[in-house]
């Protein structure tokens, strides 16, 4: 059992949907990002998705691209991203952290060394956008062996024939990408998402969380209502970009969390 499994067990017992918030490590700077992340559980966030900055985020829209650039321009690295997780763990032992990013910084560090360090830093799961099931031997299998969840993306183009392959080595939860597109782009519609989530749930017992294109408390509520939870990223990161003070950012996160928890 990982912190992610524990969290879903708790939510099930409480009859609640999960709210997942994405923030980029090191954005707008290392200290402020840590302050935001430390405030997320208090704002009602059940699982933290922490972005690992990368120069070439091929699946991300402008908002998260710029967040990564701000972080990198400020000297953010994989090492400092792990340090942020460690610092968070000093104050919170229960809220899961999922590290989300691209493979090259991990590959560059070396998979074994990365897994050891990430685990020690208190990271519970990984979402690596450019590692489909076809490349499972790279990181997915070693991560599971190290006791870390490897969370796979399922998308509108993942058809029934392919779904079992996508689910096979997935653990923790399944992240359903609500649109064909990049983060922060089109708006997800509950009516489109519902049958897709049902299709995935008929093939797995894992919770299905929906992300991409969720921007408001109302959308978080309606999307979470047809799944096991909702992720919001770009809409939060946008406030960081606008230089909003941390309490204001956390208040907005709380409104999103309330939306998802109302579902």
């Amino acid at each position: 059992m990982t912190r992610i499994d524990d969290t879903f067990a708790r939510l099930r017992a409480e009859g609640k949907k999960a709210f997942v918030a994405y923030v980029m490590a090191g954005d707008p700077d290392e200290a402020t990002a840590l302050e935001i992340i430390k405030g997320l559980p208090g704002a009602g966030v059940d699982i933290i998705e922490m972005g690992l900055p990368f120069t070439d985020p091929m699946a991300d829209g402008p908002t998260i691209q710029l967040a990564g650039q701000r972080a990198l321009d400020g000297g953010m690295t994989l090492e400092k991203t792990l340090a942020t997780a460690r610092a968070f763990r000093e104050t919170d032992q229960t809220t899961p952290i999922v590290l989300m990013g691209y493979y090259n910084p991990i590959y560059s560090r070396g998979v074994d060394r990365f897994l050891e360090d990430a685990k020690a830093a208190g990271i519970d799961g990984l979402i690596v956008v450019d590692l489909p099931p076809e490349e499972d031997s790279e990181l997915c299998i070693p991560a599971q062996a190290a006791g870390m969840n490897f969370i796979r993306l399922a998308t509108p183009t993942t058809d029934d024939a392919r779904l079992p392959k996508v689910l096979q080595n997935t653990s923790g939860f399944v992240y359903y990408v609500s649109i064909t597109g990049i983060t922060g782009a089109a708006e997800a519609q509950a009516t489109d998402v519902a049958p897709e989530v049902a299709r995935i749930k008929s093939a797995t017992d894992l919770p299905v969380i929906v992300g991409f294109g969720i921007k408001t408390p109302e959308a978080a509520q309606s999307i979470a209502g047809v799944a096991d939870g909702a992720v919001v990223g770009s809409a939060i990161v946008k406030l960081v970009e606008e230089g909003k003070p941390v309490p204001e950012i956390l208040a907005y996160v709380a409104s999103l969390a309330d939306g998802a928890h109302r579902a």
């Binding site: 691209q65 493979y103 090259n104 076809e134 399922a154």
Partner: protein, 415 residues
């Protein structure tokens, strides 16, 4: 190097798209089903004689193939050593080798029922070739080009627009070729159902590196037949310039199992391959990493963040290299060297003066290496160099570097 014929260098990639440890399919799940169906369609087309009949017809009548293999007597005399042949792919329609591959991909897109074509371009040659073939077949064409390149390659931007393509200046990241490729991938992920991504080089997720190589291999196949006819034997050395590496792979591939043929790839050394990374020499100055769907040698920092390449040639300005080159480098079948901007400029002028051929800056890098080795080689040593593009697009860049002001009717040297 293994000698037995059973150990062929021409069997890659494996079923996972790997050349040794390089290549693969490092893309998001949204694209994965499409990449698998592209692979299926390509496998079908590859074994379909009607597909290749159509390619041959277009290559002959639309592109102007076969391109000549030309004995460069002026260069040979001037350098005073090896006998130098140029494979004249700069005579192709649109002025470079790029169209060899674009035709193949567009025919595949048509077979797959895709109606919208996207492409990335650096110097604009691949963009122009894609816009050209899309115009011919009445397909919608969108070209992503770094904002900086849009500015410095204005004539190619206008060409693409004349041909009906939409050119989108890319400002994300640092606005370079790699960012153009990122934005093309973002477009693809968004419009995956009707869109075909026409990649311009032997990189990207499997099956692109193998597929683009197969389309460009016409260069090496022709060269092999032509040199047999001209000399009655295989060349001793073949040389080509490398950005992503498609013209080089096209020349090299049919010669990989001819173990006596020395193979040399020339990377862009920019201001020199040193600590400052002001170059694009991924093999000589980079290390393995994962970007744009494949594992290959990349210019990157200690943290795995990708660095910008630097070269006088916008066509070589990419921080990676095709995975098959990475593999050929590691097993030692091909040798990779680098040439600086200054050396390439010198070769550019020598080609103009001794052969009456204005070369693109990309093959000028290959020629600069020929200039280094040819004088030391005997007169019966045969070199084939791929003259993969013509230099019309580069005259403004070259004029600037040579301190020549083209604004007045006379032209004049400037300080």
């Amino acid at each position: 190097m293994p000698n037995d014929l059973f150990n062929s260098f021409m069997t890659g990639p494996d079923e996972n798209g790997r050349f040794g440890d390089f290549g693969g399919r490092f893309v998001s799940e949204t694209l994965m089903p499409l990449i698998l169906s592209l692979e299926e369609e390509y496998d079908r087309a590859k074994d379909d004689p009607s597909f290749w009949a159509q390619m041959d017809d277009l290559w002959e009548h639309y592109v102007g193939r076969p391109s000549p293999l030309y004995f460069a007597e002026g260069l040979t005399k001037h350098l005073g050593g090896a006998k130098i042949y140029l494979k004249r792919d700069e005579l192709n329609h649109t002025g470079a080798h790029k169209i060899n591959n674009v035709l193949g991909q567009i025919l595949l897109a048509r077979r797959m029922g895709k109606t919208r074509i996207i492409a990335e371009t650096g110097a604009g040659q691949h963009g122009v070739a894609t816009a050209t073939v899309c115009a011919k077949f009445g397909l919608k064409c969108v070209v992503y080009m770094g904002a900086h390149d849009v500015e410095r390659q204005a004539p190619n931007v206008f060409r693409m627009r004349l041909l009906g393509a939409e050119v989108i200046p890319v400002t994300s990241g640092r606005g370079t070729l790699k960012d153009a490729m990122n934005d093309a991938l973002r477009d693809w992920v968004t419009n995956v159902r009707d869109t075909f991504y026409c990649i311009g080089t032997v990189a990207g997720p499997h099956p692109y590196p193998a597929m683009v190589r197969d389309f460009q291999a016409i260069i090496g196949k022709e060269a092999k037949a032509q040199i047999m006819k001209a000399e009655g034997r295989l060349p001793d050395t073949i040389i080509a310039a490398i950005g992503g590496g498609s013209n080089a792979m096209g020349l090299f591939f049919p010669f990989l199992d001819d173990k006596d043929v020395q193979i040399i790839g020339v990377e862009a050394g920019g201001k020199g391959v040193n600590q400052k990374m002001e170059h694009c020499a991924s093999l000589t100055g980079g290390r393995p990493g994962v970007l744009h769907g494949n594992r290959t040698y990349l210019l990157q920092d200690d943290d795995g963040q990708i660095l910008e390449g630097f070269s006088i040639s916008a066509g070589l300005d990419y921080p990676g290299i095709g995975p098959e080159h990475a593999w050929l480098h590691e097993i030692g079948r091909a040798q990779y060297v680098s040439i600086t901007d200054v050396e390439a400029l010198e070769a550019f002028q020598l080609s103009c003066q001794t052969e009456g051929i204005i070369p693109a800056l990309e093959p000028s890098h290959a020629l600069a290496h020929v200039m280094k080795i040819a004088p030391e080689l005997p007169a019966d040593h045969i070199i084939i160099m791929n003259m993969c593009g013509r230099g019309d697009k580069d005259i403004f860049t070259v004029a600037r570097h040579l301190g020549f002001d083209m604004s007045g009717p006379e032209g004049r040297s400037v300080e």
